[in-house]
């Protein structure tokens, strides 16, 4: 009896958590796909490549870049800021990688791949730091700062590739996006590893608490001795770095950087993922786990739209409907409406008991 009650409590806690409806939505979308095609969830094993093949695997692979930027944007939003530049940082990172590889002496070597990636991540982090400096030290608004960086980033990418959609051949880089390890896509495993590292760094150190504190109340945090500027710099740099990784993921799968399409409007997907995950745009308490759920949902949604054959012109509207429904479900006000309706019946007899 007691045990079932505590189980019930646990279930309640999960239902109350902000991203519960995100999980439900993922399952619903999968269910819809399953109804259309009963073999949708089938996984087959390809012994020659050592890989699982199936729609789920495709979704996980597609989710990797969104996962990266969603986690970065989540941290920025927690400080009360926003990072609109992640999509553009992605294209810069992709442009650097492809341009470096296509110009390298031994374009197909591991050394060239490592150097290209290092360079791309370095530049992405620097772009993040520029955001951070402008926000923390110059005192510009995060929205304006990163909006400018969003416009500038795509420009920088075009300068790097001289406006071309540069392609390159490099097996190690290609493997990152298209290869398999332990039967799963490498790109997804890297994403998971990065998220685990970020989560551990943020939650096992005091970084998470400090980020939340400056997001909730910057003045009080300063008086408590927190270094707001340093924290902001760190967070924007992390966001830039993660966007750089996402850019490599996105370009490596086709080994081409498309300067006008790579990462285009992905910042909006990242922000949506964060909001679906229950992190308030006002800053403060954040949930990396929630952002992960949000990113997975958006990847599932993208694949579902394709699978159902929704006309491409109707895709944004379809996406919007799913997301607005989700936001309504997780809104405190809508939920309390439901709760009140449920509560009225059992409470009435109690009130009549004299005490």
């Amino acid at each position: 009896m007691n045990e079932s009650k505590s189980n019930l409590e646990r279930v309640r806690a999960i239902i109350r958590s902000q991203y519960f409806w995100g999980i439900v939505a993922i399952f619903l979308l999968l269910l819809i796909n399953l109804i259309k095609d009963p073999s949708y969830l089938n996984l087959s094993y390809n012994p020659t490549t050592g890989a699982f093949v199936g729609n789920i695997i495709d979704i996980l692979r597609a989710a990797a870049p969104i996962l990266m930027i969603a986690v970065g944007v989540c941290l920025v939003i927690a400080t009360g800021g926003i990072d609109l530049s992640v999509g553009s940082v992605m294209v810069v990172s992709g442009a650097v990688t492809m341009e470096f590889l296509s110009a390298a002496n031994q374009p197909d070597s591991i050394g060239a791949a490592a150097l290209a990636i290092l360079l791309a991540l370095l530049l992405s982090t620097v772009l993040g730091l520029v955001n951070g400096v402008l926000v923390a030290f110059v005192g510009l608004q995060p929205f304006i700062t990163t909006l400018v960086m969003m416009l500038a980033g795509r420009g920088i990418a075009k300068v790097i590739t001289e406006g071309q959609n540069t392609s390159a051949t490099n097996e190690p880089v290609r493997w990152i996006a298209n290869g398999y390890a332990f039967g799963l896509p490498v790109v997804f495993l890297i994403a998971v590893a990065v998220i685990v590292v970020v989560s551990i760094v943020v939650r096992k150190s005091a970084l998470g608490l400090m980020i939340e504190a400056i997001g909730i109340d910057p003045k009080a945090s300063r008086l408590a001795g927190l270094n707001r500027r340093g924290l902001l710099l760190t967070v924007y740099a992390i966001s830039g770095l993660l966007a750089g990784i996402a850019g490599i993921f996105a370009t490596a799968s086709v080994m081409t950087v498309d300067v006008s399409r790579t990462g285009y409007q992905l910042e909006l997907d990242a922000i949506l993922a964060v909001v679906i995950g229950g992190t308030s745009l006002a800053g403060g308490k954040f949930s990396i786990g929630g952002a992960v759920i949000g990113a997975l949902l958006i990847a599932t949604l993208d694949k579902t739209v394709l699978f159902l054959g929704v006309p491409s012109s109707a895709t944004p509207a379809f996406k919007a409907i799913v997301i607005i429904a989700l936001c309504l479900l997780s809104s405190e006000r809508v939920r309390s409406l439901f709760r009140q309706r449920r509560l009225t019946t059992p409470l009435t007899p109690k009130e009549t008991v004299p005490s």
């Binding site: 096992k204 150190s205 005091a206 970084l207 608490l209 400090m210 939340e212 504190a213 909730i216 109340d217 003045k219 009080a220 945090s221 300063r222 008086l223 408590a224 001795g225 927190l226 270094n227 924290l231 403060g284 308490k285 009130e351």
Partner: protein, 512 residues
Amino acid sequence: MSEPLPIVEMESISISFPGVKALDKVDFRLFPGEVHTLMGENGAGKSTLIKALTGVYKIDSGDIVIAGQSRRLTGTADAQAAGIATVYQEVNLCANLSIGENVMLGHEVRGPLGINWSATHRAAQAALDGMGLGHLDPRQPLATLSLAVQQLVAISRAMVTKTKVLILDEPTSSLDAHEVAGLFTVIRRLRDQGVAILFVSHFLDQVYAISDRLTVLRNGQYVGEYSTRELDRSMLISKMIGKDVETLRGIGSERRANHRSPGDEPLLRAEKIGRKGSIEPTDVTLHRGEILGFAGLLGSGRTELARLLCGADRPDTGRVWMRGKRTEVSNPKAGLDNRIAFSSENRRDEGIIRDLTVRENLVLAVQAKRGWARPIPRREQDALVSKYITALNVRPADPERPIKNLSGGNQQKVLLGRWLATQPDLLILDEPTRGIDVGAKAEIQLTVAQLADDGVSVVFISSELEEVVRLSDRILVLKDHRRIAELENGPGVNADTIVDIIASEVQEEVGA
């Protein structure tokens, strides 16, 4: 005077929150043309009762009758429609709008082309005239006004709607004496017009000056309704805290008995520190285990001086020595590293971090000192938190509760715990007892006295001169952004001494 019908009658109101019975069958009556004060310690249920009356909280049981009609209030709009308006402690106005826009917000005069601004401003002017604020120009931005005048504007705003019941929740907590007098003039004027006024304040003097009737709550329960004339102060305090007041009186005398003469080397010596526009160059010396009071009216520079000492603001002149060594305290972190802790007067904006738990709030400053890479292990955190929750008697003693759900006095205790956990040598307390009840106030004063006995130096700032005199070893008197006197505390010194010093310095603004 025949007794008219009450405009508000609340009967047997109960409200529960998870785990707490916030109000337990509380009665409350309010008559037109009276000022009725709600008294009780923090957490007694005053705010909850007000929120029940303004429709913020739904009542679990009981009746609310307004002007003879039973009402179910399900939101603030319901309360407003019933003629109830509230002015909160923190002014809820838009600083970037003009005075007139603030007064008329939502009630702008409309013409065929949308809002008729000149008519709106005329109506605002009329409303301000009615409050005796005719000298204000409604087109002026609100931000140019002092907090006290903003408060009066907030009341004018409340009176634009046909308000029959005006609730003033701690309106005086950030006002100085003559501003309070101005506010009271307005309150009396409204009362004479037949408005029923519900007043909440922790200042007993003010309560006795303005109110006709009192209702006392304790731990969510109704203690009684009294006529102000029939209940003297010590009886009132006993009713509020439910115990004898002699313990409170003991603190001051005990403190003075323990007064020690300072040692040789001062902990802190500041020479001519100042900052343009906030405080003129001032010398401050502080010995170990000494309590230095800063006395002065609001805006005298006492807060500004404290902020320079702790690094919250950067001084542009002067030099500071800590423990005999030249020190630059250029930001709060540097202050903490030098074992200087500063508790701001603005608990809401510069103290608590609302959405974090009691535990997180308490360990924050220690964590900031250690840096982000060296998190305090959870077990150490728990030990630290339970130590201060017990020592400072924080209620409820639940470290995982968000701090915003605690009453003001308990938030203040958590903040005190945050600073004490950094093991400061110098603790600067700016208005640590403002807006909190008698019981918590006594506990905080007791803690401060105890700290000084343990060798911590304290700068104590308060608007209540009695409090400064009771606790301090030495008192620095400030006025108009500069130091005008410094005196050793002793048997001959009392609040009037300080008032005299402030008053005689320039022959205006005599407070009491």
